[in-house]
Amino acid sequence: MRELTYAEALREAMRMAMEKDPTVFVIGEDIGVYGGAFGVTAGLFDQFGADRIIDTPISEAGIAGACVGAAVTGMHPIGEIQFSDFVVLSMEQLTLQAAKMRFMFGGKATVPLVMRLAGGSGTGAAAQHSESLEALFMNTPGLKVVMPSSPQDAKGLLLASIYDNNPIIFIEHKLLYKTKGPVPEEWYTTPLGKSHVVREGKDLTIVATSMEVTRSQQAADELAKEGIELEIIDPCTLRPLDLDPIVNSVKKTGKLLIVHEAVKMGGFGGEVAAEIAESEAFAYLDAPIRRLAGLDMPIPYNRNLEYHAVPQVENIVEEARKLVKGAY
């Protein structure tokens, strides 16, 4: 199959949706001739023009509000938040307006917007340009939270998100933009709310998100040399969370490790751990549930400190090995 980068896959999804459907447009900062801070929208301005690739002033609340207003009146807007950190400047529109509008109006409004966020650390961008904020949105009923980890899912999940009738927070990872993988050329959607078993194994279940799926794969390759088989599950959609594949996997392996870049306190890992503790899989656990997450701190600037602030391949290898060897 033809290979694309994660950024190219996202762009292809937007291009296909816009070619097919005049209600789809993209709005954000520097997405026009500049092509977006990470190049995701490169070339779209030339094809679709300023009315559909809308460059905005630096106004994150305005971008989000524009998406809400357009969505509730029949459009399918795709907003881009240049660095996911800046989304806090548009939280009112996303959490108090978009997320609640349908419910508040008695189920009679539809708000089909997608807000794309460039998240994650690893680029030396320091504390205000490197955060992983998915937990803020996980805690907001009415929103769906999507985090693709591969080019193929990036395209399929974005097309599914554009045509979902709910507001979607679509969190991309800066380090993934240049990674390559097979991407079908045709139009396809990857259903939201479905966890993917991305690697099968019998010794330990890893639930990882975004860039940590890639790191977990590398850790699994390492451990395979020692005869340890990891099963890796990528939830893809954090809200609503498809728990069944995780429950089934834990019943098989008896061990669970959750890995994400976001800080541990109040994070996605705690939610998965609690769900498993409440589920039938609990009785199958033969070790404590463990979490690897970002340290409880802002992302540091120094390259080495930044590296150590979030789970890396060797951390996953070590933690998985300890769990499998019965260290806990």
Partner: protein, 327 residues
Amino acid sequence: MVQEKTEKLIGGVFTKDKSLQLIDTMLLVRSFEENAEEMYALGKIHGTMHLSIGQEGVAVGTASALLPKHDYLLNTHRGHGHFLAWGGDLNRMMAEFMGREAGYCRGRGGSMHIADVESNNLGAQGIVAGNLPISVGVGLSIKARKSDQIVLCIFGDGASNEGAFHESLNMASIWNLPVIYLCENNFYGMSMAIKKSTKIQHISERAAAYGMPGVTVDGNDVLAVYEAMKTAAEYTRSGKGPYLVEAETYRWKGHSKSDKQAYRTRDEVKEWMAKDPIARFAKVVGLNEEGLEQHKLMAREKIKQAVEFASASPEPDVKDILDGVYA
């Protein structure tokens, strides 16, 4: 000058019948709110509400200059008047107010979130200035569809000091979006007097900063509001871009039910009550006290019937509690 204009309008656009319709709608709004207050006092409804008694001229003058249901409405928390003037169904509105299944939002939204998307009424608003960024998106949507609709985005003096005000007016202006920003300046953002919160005299002066026209109008003169909004609507509908109208008015009641009104004097309230938009317009139309009383009774009768309708509607079933969270 004002008198002259008024006479021209009365003789022209506003026939006697149409003028009486304006009176009736203003009275309906006032009766709705007086009744709301009474029901609250009697414990028949719970929560809070924001009454616009004294501000009816703005709502009715505005809606009469626009094309309700064709145009879009983005309302405020103090929005009963605008909702009714927009042609909202009194029964379903009352049912929503009472939290019933037959309400516009099936009892899930209440006074502060009442909406009817089908009639392009995109809802009242619990967040001060929350509707301002949304107006940009509705404007973009209209532009993309090449429609001749306009957006009426209403907010108070308090909202004009939110950051969202700046982002929205700027974006609407650079993209020439068909939005009329209507600032209902009732001189207080809850307890904060505008003279303490804002250095300039008129909020409409801010329009210049966004390169759009801005005008201040006497909000208690329903025809003056009509005229200003008509001018704004013609400008905006013709594709020239957004327009800021500031209507100065006054709420006779407190901000919400918890308000002891320690921040203003009784004399000030009395002074404004003397500028009652309804009594004032009744005089212009030539309706004497007795005639006005008859119209009041008609409004109250409609309210009574709406309460009966709403009371007969069932409460939402708890088994449906999660309805509408997701599509």
